[in-house]
Symmetry: C2
Subunit: 394 residues, 2 copies
């Protein structure tokens, strides 16, 4: 895991000065909240990273254009329909969504980031959304959980965190539990702060933190077409030490990853993989992802089945990495199970017990070089199959 100091997150998440949110049901889902607005009292410096999927949703296409300005007042997001693979009409609908929010907030549409999440390839019900945006500013309040609830799809609970750094606050709000092997960011993650930074500085910090956190997360190897991670800094708390800010930013992103992985579709366990001693960082990442994504590792953890030879299988299938079987060691929750490429003779009951914990740490030492990496994931369960065999239909 990244080397971060324990961070005292707030008992209950709060917003930084000047940020508020609202969420509503506008008829995309039967009754749950499906439209969310996050807003800052003043323009905020902003940065964002988006999915690398070749079929980015219309909001991503628009968002890349919007974020170039480096300034945001608001984020407007809907769930249920992702507005992906919807062609020129999709982009037009994303623009209408930004304009409706800008009108409601008396700002301009180039200050509004749009997100949509849900089924791919279905037209966005833009009229319902426009009607829903009208008057939503009247609902604005100060609990980030209300916004977190409005962006949920298959998440079982809303996800928000906050922490203090100097005089400032950082707040993370995210959603996502399936189609998650983010490659630039997870499904949707918004970070708000009242610290003062300019957009290029925010951008640099966001990219570094995302690489160490969200980009090490995989629920199911599938990369969403809607991944977005944005940060807004409205400066109302003034200057904050950058190193301290970055440390807290990273800690919150890592904590949010763990929260997302634990709530992976059908998941019952958090899996944290650490690989040390690979040829370089890239090879360490490949091995860590191979382990965290292996269905046979994921089911082994789910069943607390001490079938630890599967660790070697998952390391060994990284064909293009340098692996020295005779130097390969592995531990489960700090209990050594493999030494020099051979499975140790251990008491099955001990491994069964440790594999049945809420958090399963899989540590591997390759003994090849200095490359280290980590990855977050979860177990594979019947719940995942059930949820995804009828996602569109339900």
């Amino acid at each position: 895991m990244p080397d971060i100091r324990p961070t005292p997150f707030h008992q209950r998440p709060v917003f930084p000065r000047g940020f508020h949110c609202a969420s509503r049901n506008v008829g995309l889902k039967p009754t749950a909240r499906d439209l969310t607005l996050f807003v800052s009292d003043v323009d905020a410096a902003a940065a964002a990273v988006f999915t690398r999927n070749h079929f980015p949703g219309a909001p991503i296409i628009l968002g890349r254009e919007t974020i170039r300005g480096g300034k945001l007042r608001a984020i407007i997001a809907n769930s249920k329909v992702s507005n992906v693979a919807t062609g020129a009409l999709g982009v037009e609908n994303a623009r209408r969504m930004a304009e409706a929010a800008a009108t409601e907030l008396r700002t301009t549409s180039n200050r509004v980031l749009v997100s949509s999440t849900g089924v791919i390839g279905v037209p966005l019900p833009i009229e319902k959304i426009e009607r829903g945006i009208a008057g939503i500013a009247g609902d604005l309040q100060d609990d980030p959980m209300v916004g977190a609830e409005g962006i949920m799809t298959t998440d079982t609970h809303p996800k928000a965190l906050s922490a203090s750094v100097g005089a400032a606050t950082i707040t993370w709000v995210a959603k996502g539990s399936g189609m998650i092997e983010p490659n630039m960011a997870t499904m949707l993650a918004y970070i708000f702060t009242d610290a003062a930074f300019d957009a290029p500085t925010l951008d640099g910090m966001l990219r570094r933190a995302v690489k160490e956190s969200f980009n090490t997360l995989s629920v199911d190897t599938d990369t969403s077409t809607s991944d977005t991670c944005a940060i807004l800094a409205n400066g109302l708390a003034g200057h904050v030490d950058q190193a301290a800010f970055y440390e807290t930013l990273l800690a919150g992103c890592v904590r949010m990853c763990e929260t997302l992985a634990r709530d992976g579709e059908g998941a019952t366990r958090l899996i944290r993989v650490t690989v040390r001693g690979a040829l370089n960082e890239t090879e360490a990442q490949v091995v860590a992802k191979s382990i965290v994504n292996s269905p046979l590792i994921k089911t082994m953890v789910h069943g607390a089945d001490p079938n630890v030879g599967r660790l070697l299988m998952a390391i060994g299938k990284c064909f293009d990495c340098i692996i020295r079987p005779e130097r390969t060691d592995a531990w489960i929750n700090a209990f050594q199970v493999v030494r020099n490429g051979e499975r140790l003779a251990f008491d099955d009951a001990v491994v069964r017990e440790t594999l049945s914990r809420d958090v399963v740490d899989l540590d591997v030492s390759l003994g090849v070089g200095e490359g280290n990496a980590h990855a977050f994931g979860c177990d594979l369960t019947k719940g995942y199959v059930e949820e995804n065999a009828a996602y569109y239909s339900s």
Copy 2:
């Protein structure tokens, strides 16, 4: 799918001239057959390909040495324990297994290929196997299904096929249903023929055929440490036209892939993916594997859920491939669902019906270049999770 003429496989598989097999329970499993012998009356020219996993089992280490001679009389295989990650003692045990079979058949151990399949990292019960090999030659008989049964692990049925080519016969015997994304060959596949070819010619044909067949198969993205595909040609039927032989060889390997995929752990459906128009063959393979391995595609097929946008997600996450969304088309069982990167407005019921068939063909046209590839796989079900959450313990 590869362009092969329909091949008339025999109604019931038979062996080529001079091949026989036997299988027994020797106490590795409670009652099922767990030891198998395949034998040719005379030395056969032979070739084999093995797993690329960095932790090859002891039988693979030995087999690479044995196959250099280009001649085999027999294959001896056990199930339940794979003799992988067992160090020097494992290799010694594999040698003892070859020697026991050589003694039983009055040949030399460098004419015997050894295979072991089952749990990784557990010592091979070599004494039980040696006792079991003694006298097994007395059980030799002519039904390949008896041998196929003896090498099963989680397979739900034994797998054997045969076909005629000229005066010769080709017979395929295989096992495998999990830890299958072979990279040189599937778990265990043995091919026997009475056609006359020398070892280098066999080797060339085997590598070509495996590339087009077993290496396009994936049940669960996990590459076994025991993958072995061997071909034995004892020449008793004399010369056969090489082009005709190769065509039949490939057809049988493809058919065996389909059989293995259909019997993938927990699987209820065969998925066949064809990608056309990629930049080159390598990129076509990457996209085909991305689709066939996507848990969200696999569960969509399992639930017959017309959530076809997931096809675009799985294509789009091939970050390093050239993808032109506006030229991307897709079909399910020849019914077009995506045109120019957009999901078509179709009747959900039609797609639901076609997705619920036994065989689901997913065809993608990328419109970028001339690269084509195919891949075989299966749906992801609760049965897979159930089987693999307690494989070691059961």
